[in-house]
């Protein structure tokens, strides 16, 4: 009914947080990484950029799911925008669905992002400290 609003709200929060973090970030330490036969100077990815990945995932999903809700007539371009909001009984069902399905969507996407962060950390560690990963 309006489950996409929960991930969309999380997306708004993460976008603001990423922008706030980016403005506070200073120059990151530079590392030498072996590339082919030579070396390259690289910077580790700042956390604001990683948080931006989550924002993009949440905004992308919310945008396309919003379209699906328009398709099914659950979102309309006039007030109150959500058809279920005009009837108190339906509004209660909508809020329940937002809490269960919407909440699960937001949690699942955050979990998928956490897996991405873990994988990125492992790849970075392997590239920066190859002698540690060889053990």
């Amino acid at each position: 009914m309006a489950c996409f609003l929960v991930p969309a709200a999380e997306a708004a929060v993460t976008t603001i947080a990423a922008k706030a973090m980016k403005s506070k970030e200073r120059g990151l330490p530079v590392h030498k990484v072996a590339v082919g036969s030579g070396f390259e100077d690289v910077e580790a990815i700042p956390f604001s950029k990683k948080l931006n990945w989550l924002s993009k995932l949440l905004w992308g999903g919310s945008a396309l799911l919003c379209f699906e809700h328009v398709w099914h007539g659950e979102v309309v371009p006039f007030f109150p925008f959500l058809t279920a909001a005009s009837d108190p009984a339906e509004a209660a069902v909508m809020l329940d669905e937002m809490a269960s399905v919407g909440g699960s969507m937001a949690l699942f996407l955050t979990g998928a992002w956490a897996v991405m962060l873990f994988a990125a950390h492992k790849i970075q560690k392997k590239a920066l400290y190859p002698q540690l990963s060889a053990k």
Partner: protein, 104 residues
């Protein structure tokens, strides 16, 4: 069906992105975020529907399947429209600039 169409779109875009990485001139990454985000969200939606319907979830009526496929294709079209708008506004290759401003 919508989930399936979205997942195939996400897989195709990720393969194209990886083929051209680290260059990102066509901003294919935008499509990856759009389709992966929606795929993961529809997966949760499908889980809730499966919990409600059980095995019946996997045997939809042909009309419902067709409607869901139609929706899936429309979602892909919308995703590509969003991508095209971002690509043209950011213009990473400077193609629009060179068309709009001719050198003397």
């Amino acid at each position: 069906m919508t989930l399936l169409v979205s997942v195939f779109a996400a897989l195709t875009c990720t393969a194209i992105w990886y083929k051209n990485a680290p260059k990102n001139e066509m901003k294919v990454g935008v499509l990856c975020w759009l389709f992966w985000g929606s795929s993961l969200m529809w997966f949760i939606d499908a889980c809730f529907e499966y919990a409600e319907l059980g095995a019946e979830y996997f045997t939809p009526a042909p009309v419902d399947m067709l409607n869901d496929f139609f929706l899936g294709m429309s979602v892909v079209a919308l995703g590509m429209l969003i991508w095209l708008a971002i690509l043209l506004v950011s213009d990473p290759k400077g193609a629009l600039k060179s068309v709009l401003f001719q050198k003397k």
